[in-house]
């Protein structure tokens, strides 16, 4: 799976089509992460963790999830 920020959603979806993996799961987190402090990054990581774990173990497959 791939974790991206929402600003890169269209690009990520284009890439998985281009590489022939349209079902490759992506987890979309809030943008930006480059200009926020470490505490905020950690908060977002904690908030995303359960969804990330669900994508990794979900046998039905999740194409995209946003947290």
């Amino acid at each position: 799976m791939t974790v991206i920020t929402h600003a890169f959603e269209a690009l990520a979806k284009s890439e998985r089509e281009a590489f022939g993996a349209p079902d490759h799961p992506i987890l979309i987190v809030q943008h930006p992460i480059g200009t926020v402090n470490v505490d905020e990054v950690n908060r977002r990581a904690d908030a995303a963790f359960d969804t990330l774990a669900e994508i990794l173990v979900n046998t039905q497959g999740i194409k995209a999830a946003m947290v």
């Binding site: 600003a7 890169f8 269209a10 690009l11 284009s14 890439e15 281009a18």
Partner: protein, 350 residues
């Protein structure tokens, strides 16, 4: 030219040029400027200028990772306004921009918004009139304008790079429309770029490099190399890149070489002076820099040179009369592995 060998979809449109432009705009096939309609005849003229099959794949273009066939290259070259005799240079440019070392995907996906700059060397410059003299980085020469424009159209129409979605440039810069320059080899006191890179002087080459903006290194006061180069180095201070481009005007080059400086001496001189000083940074920025390059073991007394090594500074001579050189910053990260992008030079084949 057997037109049946062409595989591109044929689209019927009336003779009204405005209607043609409207179609291209609606389809998203233009960089914003009007395009030359790529009719069968015009595409065939382009293809006749190279000894390649229309379906030969020259490279794959991100982010769609689509094959750039000679036919698709020819179509976009027509749209950009190229003359057929530019095609060998255009093909070499595609080879360069699709070389994995350039890492075109990251160039077009980054928020940094760099252009892909082309530097043309060798006899082909004069054969097709690629300007390396007065206003070399500006307007007025069809070869410079349209060959450079091709690079953008390839990324858009073959690679699927669209601003705001698959191209994530925050601002971009005008070089993204077109930036192509010939080295002014005739006015240079040094060996040209392609000879530095192992090609013969009689070879023609195209070099592709990430470029994200320029700063004028004007100096009308200095009559010695040390002054011109010290001034130039000041323009180059700031965050480093994997490479850096010094476009030195002939008047400056003559003085610098006259004082005994080789190209390597020039690179070493500016590399020792153009730096990012850790002592000047706020704590937060400093700490991030330390984390980003643990291999450099940075302290508050450290300086980060403009590139990791002096030889990563690229020196080309271009321009006309005047004491106006330019520094062009190369987008990308310096990394222990050599950088996130590297310039690529390809031979132009007749």
């Amino acid at each position: 030219m057997d037109l049946s060998a062409l595989q591109a979809e044929r689209i019927e449109v009336g003779d009204d040029l405005w209607a043609v432009q409207a179609l291209f705009e609606e389809k998203g096939w233009s960089d914003g400027f009007p395009v030359i309609p790529p009719t069968e005849d015009r595409v065939a003229q382009m293809l006749a200028a190279v000894r390649r099959s229309p379906q030969d794949v020259v490279g794959v273009v991100p982010p769609r990772w689509a094959p750039a066939t000679v036919e698709k290259i020819a179509i976009n070259a027509v749209m950009a306004g190229c003359r057929p005799e530019y095609m060998p240079v255009v093909i070499a440019a595609v080879e360069a921009i699709t070389d994995p070392k350039l890492n075109l995907y990251s160039l077009q996906a980054t928020t940094g918004g760099p252009a892909v700059m082309l530097i043309v060397n060798g006899p082909v410059r004069n054969q097709i009139k690629v300007n390396g003299g007065s206003n070399a980085l500006g307007e007025g020469w069809r070869a410079n304008a349209t060959i450079g424009r091709c690079v953008r159209l390839f990324q858009r129409n073959i690679g699927g790079s669209y601003p705001g979605t698959t191209c994530k440039a925050t601002l971009g810069w005008p070089g993204k429309y077109s930036i192509c320059v010939g080295e002014n080899e005739e006015a240079s006191p040094w060996e040209p770029l392609h000879v530095e890179r192992g090609f013969k002087a009689s070879d023609s080459t195209v070099t592709a490099i990430s470029a994200d903006g320029s700063v004028r290194a004007s100096d009308l006061d200095s009559t010695k190399a040390v002054g011109i180069l010290s001034n130039f180095a000041q323009r180059m201070e700031g965050p480093s890149g994997p490479e850096a481009i010094m476009v030195i005007c002939p008047e400056h080059a003559k003085i610098i070489a006259g004082d005994g400086y080789s190209k390597n001496d020039v690179k070493k001189f500016v590399w020792e002076r153009a730096a990012y000083r850790m002592k000047d940074l706020p704590d937060e920025t400093f700490n991030q820099r330390v984390k980003r390059r643990p291999d450099l073991k940075l302290t508050r007394d450290s300086v980060i040179p403009v590139t990791d090594k002096p030889e990563d500074v690229i020196v080309v001579v271009a321009g006309g009369d005047g004491s106006q050189s330019q520094y062009i910053h190369v987008w990308g990260q310096s990394t222990p592995e050599g950088g996130s992008t590297r310039s690529v030079t390809k031979l132009v084949r007749a």
